[in-house]
């Protein structure tokens, strides 16, 4: 049984790792359609990764070991995150290793390493990106934690698997606390994944960039790992959103026959969410960096309100 669990765990992690670039390709395709462009192939992100992996790495003279280590740490953190979130089934052997708080901590590890590596070379853009990324994170991270705490209070547990099992079996009606949490979660998702109102993933050499400024010095295999980790992060966030707010269809422990159904359900949900993200990006414009704290402050307040409503109305 334990072997079976381990195999299903490995399968889930591998599936997440391998499909993350596809999700990115799908979002780009949707966006291109919405903008009336002809879209690149769905497999374009894979080709980019392959191209980058084949190139020779170009590293600045004064780069330290921290700079070279960071892509691996960031990638590994995201793989671990993808292994914790119950994507298709809730009985994952790794899931007792980390609850939602540790998951937020895991994102923080990846982010701190990225921010430090960006400062390592000593270019103006690197430290600018690092500062902005840490600012966004300092406001988004508490919002994310509070978003998680509302379902954690409902389920009386911070373990993701318990939360998902509890939420999947609740009566289907609108919970105001979860509605607030969901809105806050979407705002945090946009900020943390460098999506459009906060940051533009396709920008370069602009004074407004955040994520791209962080990884400006990376090339070849290091850049490939960073990009892959970024795609994986988006995947983890979307699956987290599914697990918390749309958990129906996830396979229960011992229901092996439900697994294929769960996989199909996740695919459909991810495709829909990806398309929704593309729509959101198509209709909004990037905001000035000084507006971002307000945006995230609203997310934080909404999350706290959700938690308060749970305390006052639902508890």
């Amino acid at each position: 049984m334990i072997w079976f669990d381990l195999v299903s765990q490995l399968l889930q992690s591998l599936l997440a790792i391998l499909l993350a670039p596809l999700l990115l390709g799908w979002i780009n395709q949707c966006r291109a359609w919405l903008q009336n462009r002809s879209a690149p192939s769905l497999l374009q992100p894979y080709r980019m990764l392959r191209k980058l992996l084949e190139k020779d790495a170009v590293i600045a003279h004064n780069a330290s070991w921290l700079f070279r280590l960071t892509p691996y740490v960031v990638f590994a953190s995201m793989v671990l995150a993808a292994s914790i979130v119950p994507i298709v089934a809730t009985d994952l052997p790794f899931s007792p290793a980390a609850d939602v708080i540790a998951l937020v901590g895991l994102f923080a590890v990846a982010r701190v390493f990225m921010a430090l590596a960006a400062m390592d070379i000593g270019t103006a853009f690197g430290s600018l990106g690092s500062r902005r990324e840490m600012l966004i994170a300092a406001l988004a991270e508490p919002a994310l934690l509070i978003v998680f705490f509302t379902p954690a209070l409902i389920a009386q547990s911070t373990a993701l698997t318990t939360i998902v099992e509890q939420l999947a079996h609740r009566q289907l009606h609108l919970y105001p606390s979860m509605a607030f949490a969901a809105v806050a979660f979407v705002m945090v998702l946009l900020a943390e994944n460098a999506r459009i109102p906060v940051d533009n993933p396709s920008t370069h050499l602009e004074l407004t960039m955040v994520h791209e400024a962080l990884i400006l010095e990376y090339s070849a295999r290091h850049l490939a790992l960073m990009d892959w980790a970024h795609a994986l992060k988006l995947m983890v966030y979307l699956t987290l959103g599914i697990a918390l707010f749309l958990p129906w269809g996830v396979a229960q422990p011992g229901h092996w026959l439900a697994l294929p159904l769960a996989v199909v359900a996740v695919f459909i949900k991810l495709a829909l969410l990806g398309a929704g993200l593309a729509v959101l990006e198509a209709v909004s414009a990037k905001m000035r960096i000084f507006r971002v704290p307000e945006f995230l402050g609203i997310a934080f307040l909404l999350a706290v309100l959700g938690m308060l409503i749970h305390f006052l109305v639902e508890a």
Binding site: L53, V58, N62, L80, P96, D99, I101, M119
Partner: protein, 665 residues
């Protein structure tokens, strides 16, 4: 032989080392290596004696010292043992470091420092094992005085003298409050033994007075608002090993005193005390972290970060009080364990970081963040160990800072069952504030590490910076290693300190700790929450190794070294990096109402543009300066009496005599 003997033995040993060190006039280098190196053994013994005494039966002794009718009582129980252990682990590292640090100069007369340093250590141990209010106050004062002299080691600099005076002043105002608190606690029995005080049953009103006095008095030492102002002045003024001891260990003696008074000596705990402590703690922590983010001096930054961490400890203490007042003892045990864990963590990583700043200052003779940078290439050992400390203090898994924060979050989340609806509303807000503090701490630490160790050197003199010496490296590795161990094996640590909640609250975490294996930390029950740092590390390392191997095997590992990418604008130099001011600017902007800002912007036509900004504490202007003005005015009125002429004073004597004659006829 009881476990008290080695503890008292170490105290004597340290006092003897101090006195001999004062008397032996040998050259600076051998002196520092000999005496501080020997001193480290004392710390080592204390660390393991404390560990052994945790959970053992309380032992007490009467020392043939003190006044004729007031002998010194000493006692070691689990609470004392824990803090003795903390002192031992931190001071071992600090003493080894000091042996290398003072060898190279820095600070004044080595013989004097040796005496003050060891008296400081010995008096801290005596504070922890004192079993009567008299010995406690004697040791407390000795500790304050010894640390005062250490702070003003460089007393030729006026700023340092000022910082020292401020420290001494606040320390004594605090000491008066503690003394008054003991006065209330003894309840007119005139017995200052803690064993006698424990038997006193105070009325709730007097208990509250005793608690508030203790909170203020110990708070003045721990750096809670609004008596935190000495901390950012005194910590940077002292030599680095002394800052490490003050921040890492001395602040914890205040927490020890607070725990001793509120849970051991007092019988009743009322819920609003906990609310007060929780609110004050969160506010202190937020204040500390916001100010830390805008500092430009690395030791001041760390001092503000200490305020933040002591605020977190106070918040944990407040939660413990709330739970205990409502007889939710299991949760109180969880919150108390988290509080103690954070004390231990802070002792280790803050000492580590202060020592690292010491090495940096020795290597570069700069303390300002604006003049550092790029030291990871010149000082690999210091940079690597400081990275561990930075990640730990930023609360990142799998290091130790995360464990205590995780447990505190769990305590916050489990507070839904509190039978008080006002508290139920307050707790989510508290949780949110705590989350914000934790996230901002990450910002602060990235700023600290990134500006000091990464990037290009901001001064040309940094090119010649050298790594720390062997002794300093040993000390840094010792502290960093414990940060890792405490992060990886939290269950073992919690099992060791489990006797303290048992003793103070009457409830322990044993059941939930024994439910799972040592690799899984749980809060209450595994299905409620669990966290395993070991699995965390194993998976991360495995993925890193696997990725590395796969990339190398299927692709290649070729790399070329070139100049950094300058975005097509040549002439990249070190001044284009973010400065410390620049890195803190967003925080300055967002939390502007908290700061007192003084900015001077250059006009576009200035031939030599000069930007200046000064950030000060609003509390200083709102609270301290009015008090100072009041004191000045009062003394002016008193000054009218003092004319400085002998005739005037004779008239006063005459008038007094007349008055007395009239009154006492």
């Amino acid at each position: 032989m009881s476990l008290l003997h080695p503890v008292l033995g170490v105290v004597l040993y340290w006092l003897a080392l101090g006195v001999v060190g004062l008397a032996v006039p040998i050259a600076r280098g051998p002196h520092a290596r000999l005496f501080f190196g020997l001193g480290a053994f004392g710390g080592f013994v204390l660390a393991f004696t404390g560990l052994a005494a945790l959970g053992s039966w309380p032992l007490s002794m009467v020392l043939p010292l003190g006044l004729p009718d007031l002998p010194f009582h000493v006692r070691i129980d689990s609470l004392s043992a824990f803090f003795v252990m903390l002192l031992g682990f931190a001071s071992t590292g600090v003493s080894v470091f000091a042996a290398g640090y003072f060898e190279k100069g820095g600070g004044g007369d080595i013989q004097l420092i040796c005496l003050q340093y060891h008296v400081f250590l010995a008096s801290m141990v005596m504070v922890l094992v004192a079993d009567d209010a008299y010995l406690f106050m004697v040791a407390w004062e000795a500790m304050a005085l010894a640390s005062y002299f250490l702070v003003i080691t460089d007393h030729r600099i006026e700023e340092i003298r000022r910082a020292g005076f401020l420290y001494l002043l606040v320390a004594h105002i605090g000491a008066i409050a503690i003394l008054l608190s003991f006065g209330v606690l003894q309840l007119g029995q005139w017995s200052y033994n803690f064993s006698a005080i424990r038997d006193n049953l105070l009325s709730p009103g007097w208990a509250a007075v005793a608690f508030l006095l203790a909170l203020f008095g110990f708070g003045a030492k721990a750096g809670f608002l609004p008596v935190h102002i000495w901390l950012p002045e005194a910590h940077p003024a002292a030599p680095s090993p002394v800052s490490a001891l003050m921040s890492g260990v001395m602040l914890k003696t205040a927490i020890y005193g607070l725990l001793r008074v509120s849970f051991d000596l007092l019988h009743v705990q009322v819920w609003w005390w906990g609310v007060l402590a929780l609110a004050l703690g969160l506010f202190t922590a937020f204040y500390g972290v916001a100010f830390a983010a805008v500092q430009t001096d690395m030791k001041r930054l760390l001092a503000y970060s200490s305020i933040e961490n002591m605020g977190i400890v106070l918040a944990g203490f407040g939660l413990t009080l709330i739970f205990h007042a409502y007889r939710m003892n299991l949760l109180a045990a969880l919150a108390l364990a988290a509080t103690l864990y954070h004390c231990l963590n802070h002792a280790l990583f803050k000492s580590l970081l202060f020592l690292a700043t010491g090495s940096v200052m020795h290597a570069t003779s700069h303390r300002s963040l604006g003049k550092l940078g790029g030291l990871i290439r010149r000082m690999p050992w210091v940079a690597a160990t400081a990275l561990v400390g930075t990640l730990a203090i930023a609360g990142l898994p799998p290091l130790n800072g995360f464990v205590s924060e995780w447990m505190l979050f769990q305590a916050f989340l489990l507070s839904t069952g509190l039978p008080n609806s006002y508290l139920n509303m307050f707790v989510p807000v508290g949780t949110a504030a705590f989350a914000l503090i934790v996230a901002l701490a990450g910002y602060v630490m990235v700023k600290f590490y990134g500006i000091v160790f990464l990037g290009l050197p901001r001064e040309s003199s940094l090119e010649g910076a050298h790594d720390a010496g062997v002794l300093e490296r040993i000390a840094l590795v010792w502290l960093a290693a414990w940060c890792v161990v405490l992060g990886l094996a939290p269950v073992l640590v919690l099992r060791a300190i489990d006797s303290i909640p048992q003793m103070l609250i009457g409830s322990s975490l044993r059941e939930s700790l024994n439910k799972t294996s040592w690799a899984f930390l749980t809060a209450m029950a595994p299905e409620h929450a669990s966290y395993s740092p070991i699995v965390f590390v194993l998976v991360t390392v495995a993925v890193v190794a696997l990725t590395f191997i796969l990339v190398r095997r299927h692709f290649h590992g070729r790399a070329r070294r070139v100049a950094p990418w300058d975005c097509g604008f040549p002439g990249l130099n070190a001044r284009m990096q973010d400065s410390a001011e620049g890195y803190g600017q967003p925080i300055k902007q967002i939390f502007e109402p908290f700061f007192r800002l003084e900015r001077h912007h250059p006009s576009p036509f200035d031939p030599k543009p000069h930007y200046r900004s000064k950030i000060e504490d609003k509390l200083w202007y709102a609270l301290y300066l009015p008090i100072e003005r009041l004191a000045a005015r009062l003394s002016q009125w008193v000054g009218i009496l003092q004319q400085g002429r002998i005739a005037m004073y004779l008239v006063y004597s005459f008038a007094t005599l007349l008055l007395l004659l009239v009154l006492i006829r």
